[in-house]
Symmetry: C2
Subunit: 235 residues, 2 copies
Amino acid sequence: MGLCEGEIAPSNSAAGHDFDHRSIIQTIPARRTICHPNEWSEYISIICSGWATSSIALPDGRRQILSFLLPGDIASLAGLFEPVCGPLIEAVTDVSCRTFKRGELKSVLLSRQDLLEKMTRNLLEEKKQADELAVDLGRRTAEERLSRLILKLQERLAKRGMVRNQSFEFPLRQWQIADATGLTPVHVSKVLGELQRAKLIEIKERWLTILDLPELRRVADRCVIKVHFSGPRTG
Amino acid sequence: MGLCEGEIAPSNSAAGHDFDHRSIIQTIPARRTICHPNEWSEYISIICSGWATSSIALPDGRRQILSFLLPGDIASLAGLFEPVCGPLIEAVTDVSCRTFKRGELKSVLLSRQDLLEKMTRNLLEEKKQADELAVDLGRRTAEERLSRLILKLQERLAKRGMVRNQSFEFPLRQWQIADATGLTPVHVSKVLGELQRAKLIEIKERWLTILDLPELRRVADRCVIKVHFSGPRTG
DNA sequence: CGGATAGTTGAGTTATCTCAAATGCAGTGG
DNA sequence: CCACTGCATTTGAGATAACTCAACTATCCG
């Protein structure tokens, strides 16, 4: 069983080997809530197909999307130890997911060192992503945030074999992009428009194509002192 | 051994029971780097006294502080499985910390189910904090961010018995506060000034006092409307 | 004393937001 | 099949939170 992003084939037989029989496949229509925050739940889900969001909503309507969940991703590892999952999980598209009983999943994990280590690495990776998000939101411009979002999605989808010719399905609404980048839908529209007019990307019929990868990367890292180097470097 | 924030007494004998003898106490002067990002290191440290920061720096000088490390905190759990710790760890004040060999710490952890679970919970808590930071940076105003930073520090210090009468030592420079809140030092100065003129807090001689906790909470959660006060105006 | 580091304050700038109107598009029901 | 309603998106104009720059003061420390 792979708990690391991209390791799990997004098919139905994906998530578990030794305890598939203890899981249920569920289907959730687009825009529906998958998991309420601070609500008691016995279950933990892994996305098998479709996109979902994990977000935190403030009482006055503001909200921040913490991550987009793609096939193979676990909806809230946080739910493993606590009966409440913390963030709000919602389906972007129609989503199918495999659902496990919390207690069972936990005991299987705790009994197998290798799985446990995988889960820990997974959690560490999530933490790293969260840290990067904080940098994006705290210190990067709208252009950078949007370019980076696109590039990251592209990478993650590529790992799953869901990108062809720099094109991939892109079901996000602009208000969702806004909530993910800490911007306003209006501003997202403007900046996305600029990126398209500059021929860096194209968005059409819910598909996104990266037209100029190197340039998009430059915009995404407006800081990079263009080092073109000839070998692997680390510092 | 307590891996959860606040569980560890901030004394020297704090961090380990069964393997204290395998650790070294280190002292780092203020402003010095404790752990370089992306640099190979055999060691993992737990803060025993003093404050430190965990941050990510962009090549062009922008930086985002991800968290302040207080006595009892682990400097980068991420370092447990990877030889590089990711963020940059720096001492704010003089810091003393207990340092373990990565491999040894890891093997002890993996061999004891209870410790492992504690560590996992700890990691989940860190993730939760990171998520909240993202909400702050993405969706909250400067006033909110600063009030919340102060309140969170107060809570964490209180758990450690380091708060008396709503007062605690506050060694942070305004540029550090700026890097933690995604703001500019100049703007931090202005907003902090307002909070003080409004008698919500007082900062003097590296000590911070919360003068009006309920009101500060309200500002931190902007659920509430502007309160009129008759003191000096702020513009 | 002189030089570095911090903090404050004011003036002007800018990135991003708010509001609003216009367009498109997709699904519904008559 | 069409009118209708509800979402999404685009675009413009004006407002504002936060930024930059710069000058001034205070503090620390050798």
